[in-house]
Symmetry: C2
Subunit: 218 residues, 2 copies
């Protein structure tokens, strides 16, 4: 297998061209508006299955971009996703990326209550969102319990997330937790099934931001 | 789809039980010594294809564990992987996790020389390894150019990596770069093909560390 000579700045372009070509070869179609996001997810995973499972609520990308333009924060459930999301790009619009998972108060409360730290993090995010009157985009790449808690707060009327990127990965309650969000009228980008991850959550957030006309000039 | 009630501490155990069961159902076998690593990769990706593509050099896990016990550092090519690798566990053995990708000197040099930052990072890691006489485990989850540079330094005799976790993901030179490492006598854990990622690199490093008898008591 020979190494192909590609300039650093051209690697991404070449990768997306290959993805576009192979989607066509496989007979997979992705709506134009969603293509930059779904393709970036495939770019991050080399897994074409995402073309069949990525699910968008109506006008999801427009809604998420509008929130970003208005300075929404992103709250994620892993520090890996936080590292992967382009904080620099979000800050151009006045937003910040947060992850509360490693906060000592979160660990303490989770232990005391016998629940996951991700559950406590969602409650903390809801509290901050209400105190600061700031919309939050949730980017969940790991913990289905985060999605379950967001749905519970939605159900009891205590908090409504502005947007959910719901791509936890795994084998226990992951598929069911995603469906719990799809059933609501909260706008979302979700990957149905077991697959997802922190890298996928970050790829989705970045793709939506990069697709904003004013984001790419950095 | 109903939500299954599982205590926070039991979620991982339950997930690994499901993975073990489904590997058997799919007729996939993984050697015992490698199973904790391959299963953690599947746990991180929900992708059983890894059971067929994960490739280990002879005694790879023993060699990597020995390096960790002796205080080897881990150098990775993304800050996402750095976030995902348990630095706390590595520090118990005297090692540290590094990523030089965001270092201003790296960005400057890469631009001047028209090469990727990952290439420059590998050279920086080699320099530090030699100066400090410290073995380095490379955990490459993104850039095939990192693997290509490691192979070049191996070929010209200027540097020999102690171990390579080689799981870049993508479409341009990813498969070929992995084969370039497999051809050498450097010990490795590599996922053949296009798949991999920062999350996979972190999962492999963590699985190898967690499998050390003294690592899990934290």
């Amino acid at each position: 297998m020979a190494i192909e000579i590609v300039k650093p700045n051209d690697i991404e372009k070449r990768s997306f061209a290959i993805i576009t070509e192979e989607l066509a070869q496989r007979g997979l179609t992705v709506p134009d508006r969603e293509a930059p996001v779904t393709k970036r997810v495939i770019h991050t995973s080399a897994d074409f299955e995402y073309a069949e499972t990525m699910t968008y609520s109506e006008n999801a990308i427009d809604i998420m971009q509008d929130l970003i333009r208005k300075g929404a924060d992103i709250v994620t459930d892993t520090n890996m996703a936080k590292s992967g999301i382009s904080g620099k790009t979000l800050e151009k619009f006045g937003g910040h990326v947060h992850c509360f998972m490693a906060d000592p108060d979160v660990a303490k409360e989770a232990k005391e209550r016998g629940i996951t730290r991700a559950t406590v993090c969602m409650e903390k995010a809801a509290r901050i969102s209400k105190e600061e009157n700031k919309p939050i985009i949730f980017a969940i790449g790991n913990a289905p319990t985060a999605l379950i808690r967001l749905r519970e707060m939605y159900d009891d009327g205590s908090f409504r997330p502005a947007f959910i990127v719901g791509v936890p990965v795994g084998f226990v309650n992951v598929e069911a937790a995603k469906e719990l969000i799809i059933e609501t009228d909260i706008p979302y980008i979700i990957n149905r099934g077991r697959k997802g991850g922190s890298n996928i959550a970050a790829a989705i957030c970045n793709a939506v931001m990069y697709d904003l006309p004013s984001a790419r000039d950095f």
